[in-house]
Structures are given as C-alpha cells and as structure tokens.
Amino acid sequence: MSALTAVVAINTFREAVRDRVLYNLVLFALVMIGAAILVGQISIGIDRLVIINLGLSAISLFGLVMAVFIGVGLVYKEIEKRTLYSLLAKPIGRQQFLVGKYAGLLLTLAVNTALMTIGLAGALFYVGRPFMRSDLSILVAVYLILLELALVTALALFFSCFSTPMLSTLFTLGIYLTGSFAADLREVGDLTRSPLLKGFMRALYYLLPNFHNFNAIAVAAHGETIPFSLVAQNTLYACAYVTVVLLAAAAVFSRRNLK
C-alpha cells in the first residue's frame, strides 16, 4: 500500500469514528452482558456454547451491517458531496483513492471486530469459565469472519462505483445471501434433469463468492479445532476474489465521469 493510499485509508477510518460508527459496540456490549446474565441463570453446562455462538454471530452480523451500509456509500458519497473534486486534483490516482477507501473501511471493521472479540472474551470470563487452548478456534473463527467482511466490503465498494446506495445495498446483500447458499445451488442443479439449469447453477456456484466456507462459528462453539488447510484455503480464496473485485471496481471508476 502506497503512502497516498494510507493517507486516504486513515481519513476513511477517522470519518467512521467521527460519524460514531463504533457506537454499535455499545449495542454489542449490551447484547453480551444480557446474554451472559441470562445464560448464567438458565443454562447448565452449555453456557460456553451459547455465549460463543451468540457472540460470534453478533460479530458477524454487526460487521456485515457495517461493511454493507458504509461500503455502499464509500465512493458514492464522495461523488455526490463532491469532496472527491478537490482530492482528485491532488497527485493521487483514482485507483489509489479506491484502494485507500477500501483499506480504511477494512481497518474500521478490524478495529470494531477486535473490540467485539474482547467483549466476547469478557462475557466468557463473566460466566466463570477458564480459558482453554481450544478457545484459539474462537480467534480463528473471528479471522474467518474478517475475511468474509473483506469480501463483502469489496463487493459493496464495487457497486458504489456506479450505483446508488440503495441499489448497491440490494446487490451486495443479494450476492451475500446467494453466496451463503452457493453449495446448495450446485446441489439443486445436480438434482435437475435440465442440462441448461444444471450448467447455470454450476456457473453461479463458481462465480459467486462462497460465503458458507467462512462460517466456522459452530465449530468454534463446540471447541473443535479449525483445520489450518481451511484457513489457508479461505485466505487465498478471499485474497484472490477481493483482488478481482477491486480490479473491476478500478476499471469502472477510472472511466467514470464525475458529475
């Protein structure tokens, strides 16, 4: 990442902080405190499972909401408010700007996720459970959630380059939901007799990002180890997919006439 890209990224992070985006952490903290108290009263022996499940799901959901709703406005807002005009008159290329915006939101999501993970650890501590080696899989699950958010952010940014926030939200969430059921799409295709439908479903399976692979919440909640091969494979997959989406975004944005 070049120095100019880092300048844009840090400003994007600062914008999120000043726009009180991190206030969602208060809501997350309330959910965690509520869950810890409730679990302490009603569950015997499954407190770990419930807290980790709830905590990781909340981290994923809160992150997803942030990635989509901030991501779809990343470029659009700069064009609409014309803040981009004076910026692009500086010696920074459109691609550098785009990568900077992406990195800035990713930084925001990483900080947000890290703070929520600390909150989850606090809730686990509150229910009086000692930390074990198997808890490392919680951190791995969090890492996979971050990879998923990196992919969602790239998609939101891509749509933000040429579409309104409302349409971009629909497109991004549409791809996220379809991508979460990518394996099911292939299975549906395999069950049909129509070669055309089968081919279409397979094409969707390979084209859409497979979000299901990033979900290791249940594995972490049960204290099982997440295989390293899965982590490595998902990391490579996310990096490759994000690169392709960002290149597509750069191709669209570098030709765009700013109104």
Binding site: A3, L4, L87, K90, I92, G93
Partner: protein, 319 residues
C-alpha cells in the same frame, strides 16, 4: 519560447441525454486556448456556458469527447502533473467532520511534507485566508464564505505553479472578495499562472492580463480586457448636486437621473462644455466628470444576447 502554462486543443465534451442516453448535448465545443506562464486569465461566461466543464476536464474529473490539453507541457491524464497545480471547485464541499486545520493537513500529506512543514504551511495559509481563528472548528459549522476560504487555502497550500479557481468570489462578502483579489494578485506577483472563472466582470477587468469569453460552449473571444472592448469614449458622465430649493431647468431635468439628492447625466463628448456651463448658470455643484467607455460587461452582454438570438433562430428553423 517557454512552454505555455496551459494548452487546450480542441477540447470538446458531449453529455448523453434522454432516457436511452442515445442523444447528446454538447457542453463544450472545440475549445482551443493557450495561457502563458505567469498570466492571469479570467474565464468568463453565463451559467451553462461550459466554464466548469472546462475546469473539470482539465482536472481529469471528466473525460473529453474529443481534443486534449496539456498543463506545463504534461498531459492532463498524467496524475504526477497535479503536483504543480491547485484547484478550487465551484461551491466547494469538504469533509465536514474535519476541522479546517485537519483538512489542510490532510491535503498537505498528498505532497509528502513532513509533520513540521505541514504544521507551518497549514498555519500560514489559514492565516492568509483569514481562518486562523477558526482553525479548530469543524467544517460542518462553517458558513459558505468560510468554506470558500478553506477551498482557496487547499488550492494554494503546496505553492502550485498553475492555479485553477472556479468562481472564487462566489459566496464571499465584499471583504472576502477583496481578500481573494489580493491573493490572486499575490500569486501573480509570485509568477504563478492563475486561470479563474467568474461572473463578476469587474473582478476580471481588475485582475486579468487576458480574458476568454465562453458562451454556449464556444469560445467567443480572448484577449486583454482593453483589446476586447474598444477604448473609444462613448460620452461623458457628469455627477452633480442641484442648488437647495432651486428647480433644474427642464432641458436638464429631462435628461438627468435623480440619485438620492444627486443627479447623473450622460452627454456626448462635444456637448460637455456647454452642459457644464449650463449647470454653472443653474448654480449646480459638479461632483465629477467621467468619460464613458464600453465595459467588459457591455461586451459580455452583447455576446450573450447574440448567442441567445442565434439559438432562438436555430430553434425557429428546426420547427
């Protein structure tokens, strides 16, 4: 011969219009213009003339349909060229969650200045545009005039060789306008090239080495303000006060315009002395006698009027 600061060669911009976006509307039509280094050029034209389109093309914010341009010999597609230019957009809007100091510091980072240099520059330019006392105020609390000042500061923060200002006086009070005029003159004294668009013709007359007039996307003329408008005297304007309790003679009263206790009368040059004599006999107090010359405004309005009548004629033909 030195390279021109700005070379615009047949720059044309069409915008797609209509639901299917198949038709186009020409916003700028083969604009060719050169600006020498150290020159202040006023870019004049009514609303929709293509002034902002030209500036956006030069800044690479939009892309030309045809033609090209170079700034200090480098293509406008060259991002590195932006080190040498500054740009104030029309009605600028900035990150309103930043303070004025943070905004300028943010922009200064794109030029690779260290922390100490940034602090020095930011302080100096905030002072220059009269925002030193508002340095730590968030831009969301700024008035339009203050935003304009912040915009000017960010445009010249890095001592650019060529400065583009889109309506720099817009939204400013008379004091602010004067300060911006002083900044432009200061830039000129430093040998920088200034290309600014404006509606305010008196500012252009006062500041510019040359003006270029754009109407309907077409360049109508370019040259020194004195060359563009004829300097021939059209008549003489006399400003006078009548004597207390004494009526003006009808011959004068019919031609004079009453302006709050004073009168203004315009007469042909060869009638000046006779009129002055007449006023003396009426015991009027002559305040000033000024030659009447056509202004840039007259030239400008004539061009706009001609363009309108031509487009009307085209409309009639089309029907």
């Amino acid at each position: 011969m030195s390279t021109p600061a700005i070379e615009i060669l047949g720059l044309t911009k069409d915008y797609p219009v209509g639901f299917w976006r198949k038709r186009t509307r020409r916003s700028l039509d083969h604009l060719t213009l050169e600006v020498e280094q150290g020159e202040v050029l006023g870019f004049l034209g009514p609303n929709g003339a293509g002034k902002t389109t030209t500036l956006k093309l030069l800044m690479g914010l939009i892309f030309p349909t045809a033609g090209t341009a170079r700034i200090r010999g480098r293509s406008i597609d060259d991002v590195g060229m932006h080190r040498a230019i500054g740009y104030l957009p029309e009605q600028p809007y900035f990150y309103d969650y930043l303070t004025a100091h943070e905004l300028l510091d943010y922009y200064a980072r794109f030029f690779g200045y260290g922390a100490a240099e940034r602090r020095k520059r930011v302080g100096r330019f905030l002072e220059m545009v009269g925002l030193a006392t508002a340095a730590d105020v968030q831009l969301r609390k700024f008035s339009k005039g203050m935003l304009q000042r912040a915009g000017i500061a960010q445009a010249i923060l890095h001592d650019p060789q060529v400065v583009f200002l889109d309506e720099p006086m817009s939204g400013l009070d008379p004091v602010g306008r004067r300060e911006v005029r002083d900044i432009i003159l200061q830039l000129k004294q430093q040998g920088r090239t200034v290309f600014f668009s404006t509606h305010i013709l008196s500012d252009a007359e006062m500041l510019c080495d040359r003006v270029a007039v754009l109407v309907g996307g077409k360049l109508q003329g370019a040259g020194a303000p004195g060359d563009i408008v004829s300097m021939a005297v059209h008549g003489m304007e006399i400003l006078f006060e009548g004597r207390q309790g004494r009526e003006l003679p009808r011959s004068l009263a019919e031609r004079a315009v009453h302006l709050g206790g004073r009168y203004r009368i315009e007469v042909p040059e060869d009638e000046l002395y006779a009129t002055v004599e007449h006023l003396r006999t009426c015991e009027a107090r002559i305040l000033s006698v000024t030659p009447v010359r056509p202004t840039l405004e007259d030239y400008f309005l004539r061009l706009v009027g001609r363009e309108k009548s031509q487009s009307h004629a085209v409309e009639v033909l089309v029907r």
